[in-house]
């Protein structure tokens, strides 16, 4: 199994944003160990954990900077086949202390960063008819925590962006597979007591980033498995009768 995955991984070129620390760093390492060529984006210069990882400095909030960074990656590694949008900020700020500018700056990083990077990779993926985009999200939008207005709005919007991408591209380019992923690693944060180590989550994330089946397009993954939308009892019975029920996709 591992050998097969390595064979498939050898022709992949992945870009991971905010790859200088945490889950981004761990994911870059997991992918490079599977034989993927990896470029890591970061706002600050950083020393990659493995010298096969190409560090690229760019501010994902700035579309021009992102375009330049991806030109650089294309020149040095080739056209990216995998994009993991992992950049985020969590300002931990009371809404009364937010200014419109500070609020929108959170959106510009958490949502705008993903938009900028998608815009940079999509022409190549559209030309190839294939590609893989993983948006790192949370369920912060479902029940926003105090002090997390910008974060909750931007992460929720990113999940909508994923579905909008699938609505526009899914039928035309079934080979461009776009999913959400909640790694569940956020130990430093409040409210997530059961966060897992980034190294473990990165194993799952690497598997998810290498899954290319069009059937997973638009799905949300939580840690190591598909996060199925809750269905009512009636809905579940209907699924059974109409033959639509299926087991959630697992990443183990």
């Amino acid at each position: 199994m591992r050998d097969m995955r390595m064979q498939e991984a050898l022709s992949e070129i992945a870009v991971i944003t905010e790859a200088g620390w945490g889950i981004g760093e761990a994911l870059a390492l997991a992918l490079v160990r599977l034989g993927v060529m990896v470029a890591g984006l970061s706002r600050q210069a950083f020393q990659p954990a493995d010298d096969r990882i190409l560090p690229v400095v760019a501010d994902v909030r700035d579309p021009a900077d992102v375009a330049r960074a991806f030109d650089d990656i294309r020149a040095r590694l080739g056209a990216p086949t995998i994009l993991v949008n992992n950049s985020e900020t969590y300002p931990d700020r009371d809404i009364l202390d937010e200014t419109p500018a500070s609020f929108m700056d959170t959106l510009q990083l958490n949502l705008g960063g993903a938009v900028n990077c998608c815009h940079a990779v999509l022409p190549g993926m559209v030309a190839a008819g294939s590609g893989r985009i993983v948006n790192v999200v949370t369920f912060a939008d479902v029940q926003p925590a105090p002090l997390a207005a910008g974060y909750s709005v931007s992460k929720g919007a990113l999940r909508i962006y994923t579905r909008a991408l699938v609505a526009d591209l899914g039928d035309r380019f079934p080979g461009i597979v776009i999913t959400d992923w909640v790694p569940g690693t956020h130990q430093p944060r409040k409210g997530i007591p059961d966060g897992v180590a980034p190294q473990l989550a990165a194993e799952w994330g690497a598997r998810l980033a290498l899954m290319k089946s069009p059937e997973i397009n638009g799905l949300v993954f939580l840690q190591d498995r598909e996060h199925a939308l809750p269905r009512s009892l009636k809905g579940r019975m209907k699924d059974r009768i109409l033959g639509r029920s299926r087991a959630p996709v697992a990443l183990r």
Partner: protein, 539 residues
Amino acid sequence: MSALPRPHGQLSVAEAARHSWDVIVIGTGIGGGLAGRRLAEHGLAVLYVEKGPLGHRAESHFLRDDLSDYAARQSRGLWPTMMEATVDGGAAHRFFAPLGSGVGGSSVFYAAAAERPERHDLESTNEMPHPAGGWPVGYDAFRPYYDQAEELLSVRGDADPLSGLPPPGLAAPPLTPTEAALFRDLRQAGLHPYRAHEALRRVPGCSDCLGHKCPRPCKMDGRSAGVEPALQTGRAALLADCTVEELVEAAGRITSLRVRVAGAEHRLQGEIVVLAGGALHSPGLLLRSTGTHAAGCANSSGWVGRGLMFHLNEMVAVWPRRGSPAAGATRAVAFRDLYAHEGKRLGLVQSMGVAADAGRIADHLKGMIARSVLRRVPGLGKAATVFARASARLFGSATVFVAVIEDLAYPENRVRPHPEDPEVPQVDYRIPDELRARRSLFRRAMRRTLARHRILFLTFSPLLNFGHPCGTLRFGTDPATSVLDADCRAHDLDNLYVADASFFPSSMGVNPSLTIAANALRVADLVAVRLVREGRKTG
């Protein structure tokens, strides 16, 4: 995505308008695409004008009737509006017909069926008199163009043992064991199945692409076998996203095309105009071109838009005999045992190439329910799903066959542009009694032939194939009863030719694509010879 370079040969309207073209081809489907290619290979300067977009080459979407947004349809190369049809004088129905509008036209969505008609489709024979007294160009004159079309479309398959037609030049890939079992089953029933003729190059990674755009240089259609090789000659150019609104006529010639691009009007000029907008839209353009004649351009006969034919689709699910494996989804099989039956014109039967599983059968049942009076019965769609699941569980996967039952031309069956929206084709169609009778004959004959099989007819009422429109600019020798002459040139106009399915005076018992392609090559040769003869081009 604006960063992508414009592909070689694509022009802006300003660039196209500056040039005087030898030939302007309107429409890039299987007819326009191949005509333009042949014209460019003759050394002529060709401009393709396409209403829809170029599209992205790696796209692989299907036709969609669940997407109603105009721009979303347009960007996918789907005809952007619904069609309006009044069948048998009932209420007018609006629905998304299986029509393309982009480079390759509808052909990029076709199932790559490339079947030759038989002699009696084009001519009267002793056994089978022709309903229109025969085409003005006989079978033997068409034959070399069928050969050429098969070559350009990389048609592969086996010889049909009944018609005696020659096999395509290329062999089809070997049958799977389940397909071979299906062949054995059908032979045991006394049928003569053969490997259906398909226009697929079968490149590595080929996924058949039946009913959806092909992302590889594999399925041969108006784009891959027409526009793309034409652009490679360097003598053809493409103007996409350009709607032709009027053919401007003076002194028996088309002098210019009034077109619209991004809301602005422009004029294009060509020595010859080849119209290939498809049998629903080509007559629409002529009927809208009223600058000289109120009844429309090239319409002195009054036949423009009339003689509209579709095939009748008769679908039947056939389960394997006990002990045979289920062949399920295959496009591999065709047979002509009922092509002409008891002196009546029926047509080719072919496997549909779709998974005949529970979902597919349920879809058909639900579609049929939606089209019938049963649509008012609540919950019937769900019942159909449950029924289909139960039958799939009991009997395994069926193979769905579809008969292409020939439709004949009647002047009252017609298409016009909708008075309120010229992009909506307005179809008036009456299913003739003789067609209903031939349909019944087909069902009886199928039931008798497959008496030892479990079969299920999937069509309750006659189902028109809105993807096979033809006949709306029929060719003939009499200018009083036809729009085009034997060369597919308008009787009324010196420089207007037609290269789509509009020219058919009868619809034949096979899928139309190969005949459209063959005729497009023939028309292109006639145009090229003429331009050389008149000294406007050197050969």
